[in-house]
Symmetry: C2
Subunit: 412 residues, 2 copies
Amino acid sequence: MLLNGLRVVTERMPHSHTFSVGFFAGVGSADETEKINGSSHFLEHVLFKGTRRRNPEEISAAIESVGGELNAYTTKEHTCFYARVLAENSDLAVDVLSDMITSSVIRTTDVQAERAVILDEIAMHGDDPVESVQEMVSDHLLPHPGLGLPVIGTEESINALSRQQIVRHWRRSYHPGSIVVAAAGQVDHDHLVEQLAAIGDFGDPAARRRVRAGGFGEAGPQVIADRRPFEQSTVSLAYRGPGIFEAERFPIGLLSVILGGGMSSRLFVEVRERRGLAYGIEAGETSYTDHGLWSVDWQSAPDKVEEILELVRHELAGIAEDGVTEEELVRAKGQMRGQTVLSYEGPQSRMSRLGTAELIGDTRTVLQLLDEYDRITSDDIGKVAADLLSRPPVLALVGPRRPSRRLEKLIN
Amino acid sequence: MLLNGLRVVTERMPHSHTFSVGFFAGVGSADETEKINGSSHFLEHVLFKGTRRRNPEEISAAIESVGGELNAYTTKEHTCFYARVLAENSDLAVDVLSDMITSSVIRTTDVQAERAVILDEIAMHGDDPVESVQEMVSDHLLPHPGLGLPVIGTEESINALSRQQIVRHWRRSYHPGSIVVAAAGQVDHDHLVEQLAAIGDFGDPAARRRVRAGGFGEAGPQVIADRRPFEQSTVSLAYRGPGIFEAERFPIGLLSVILGGGMSSRLFVEVRERRGLAYGIEAGETSYTDHGLWSVDWQSAPDKVEEILELVRHELAGIAEDGVTEEELVRAKGQMRGQTVLSYEGPQSRMSRLGTAELIGDTRTVLQLLDEYDRITSDDIGKVAADLLSRPPVLALVGPRRPSRRLEKLIN
């Protein structure tokens, strides 16, 4: 940690020729109220619109002219600005990113132009059935205000946000104490720290506050359908799941692998290989700091939805009753370990893991997490499957048909 | 090249812990007639359905249980089966892939199950406005039969394909002379060659034939619209472009970068940064062995399409008239070089480049190609812009509105 409170985490990969760096701010839509919903994402957009030293073209040209990548994303819990460049351009990347984060000018005209762009983005998300279904699930299973709000905001909130509100959100959410800088690849930690120390203080931490106090919505099982003239139905069967620090994430992670974590998973084999009912089907958890979701997701012909849902509930009930086989357990642990190692091959994924873990104070290494998975038994997985089944599910659907009675029955 | 005619290309990356391998067969939808359209992709699906030694679950479980990735894709000109594993599992990956390609059983029941899956996939593509627009462009600007046919086939051709036709397509398209094996990462070339030599002969090259004799469609400028109830319009302004071996690809590649190759490109700055008319806009070429396409693509509110199209034509005409600035040229060459180097950081992208280049007999190295780009002048780019403008464009649209008269006028 630097004198000003900024945290810096790095991993040097001696044989790498590239440098990946991310500035992670601990703010996202979970920190917003309905009224300012979408302000973290809106802010991310306007921080590209020019600083005291660079106009917007100069920001992107600085990185793009050396072939680098400069981008940003906003999630429910954090906002990340990142760059990936050849090692020789590392100073430039750090300079451009810190300039954007600390010294943007945020002009009213830029706020207006980006407002139009974000309204287009909302329309694009609305046109996408997969994003629509995910939003329906989050809205129903996560707390409001807080995690249940959409990252991008709503047409109403985006139209109402003023430049002043966005600037205030920036000043109180971006200060040395809220930011983690993570870098991986050909990185010199001491040099990076020196460069960052020169930034000095910024933002207004005194004004900072967190929301995250929202409550959960209705309790019973629910079918939520959005009828739209697509050929296929997009479906998510979702339950509340564990947060990042909850022990339940380990058995639930293996349950996901065994049930729907690849082409050898139970549901893929049943639904795709044996019956040709859908192109694919997946199970998986989405974990946030304090809460999470677990879901099974697929796209299929509208008249196949009931049959697939029956198979999903049947397999889940089977595991709740009998656990999983020894062979499945060994295979799932091997898959978890191998996939994790493979996924951290490049500097960019390591940078991302370093930054997000530091941001939420998760001090466990990847290998420690893998060891936790290794301790899980078939019984643990059976218990977590039974526990999931005891929670009220949400079945979210986007597609051409009205949900049938049979469908309503199946989830009750 | 092995005694049986199989070509093997590898790149050893001494510090890598992983192994990426791909089996590239030189067959895709460009080799099909309308009648058997989709058979290359259908074949790719059924080669996952079991061999003499492994049932389908065993195929995927073999790779997934060690955390590896096993997948395949079909393009217009080739089909690739690939795996990515930890170095210690390299023999296994090669064994599974060669087993699938040479010794699949292709049962009638599997053909039936996959037919249903592919019909779902066709429906999914149809629901996606971006894929729909690309298909409309290919259909109108590329030859029929040949490159103009969709990779996935049509509902009609997929319903009509018999097991026998698929098996025949396999026997004549998959033989040692048609396949390239490429590997990168922690790879031992001699060991791989030894393992592959043991496969022996397979397939029936005598039955092989290539189609690719199709003609081009109508000549004039065209607006092709598919009216669908989306909120946003998805648009592609497309022209015929160069094939992989044509010299025109070098000036056209730099034109793409300068016009729409990132956040500092002319169109992004005009359309997104200055006017907030769309979330993004891109220009780029798609090159096949003998032909290609060049297009500008975006999604926007339906009432912004004309204004954006005017800006696109205006910028293109401006470059045709005046060329590009020295600063733009230098920046674009730097961007091309840096992006290329960064994109080949990992073993998987190198494997993929090795395999596809060998397949079509492209012996130029990436650095040689970059040198070609470096030789391009502002005049060359102006000429290629003027040349594009002299070709009849296709404007493909998917969205809620009927194309306006003004739009028709703008492309004529």
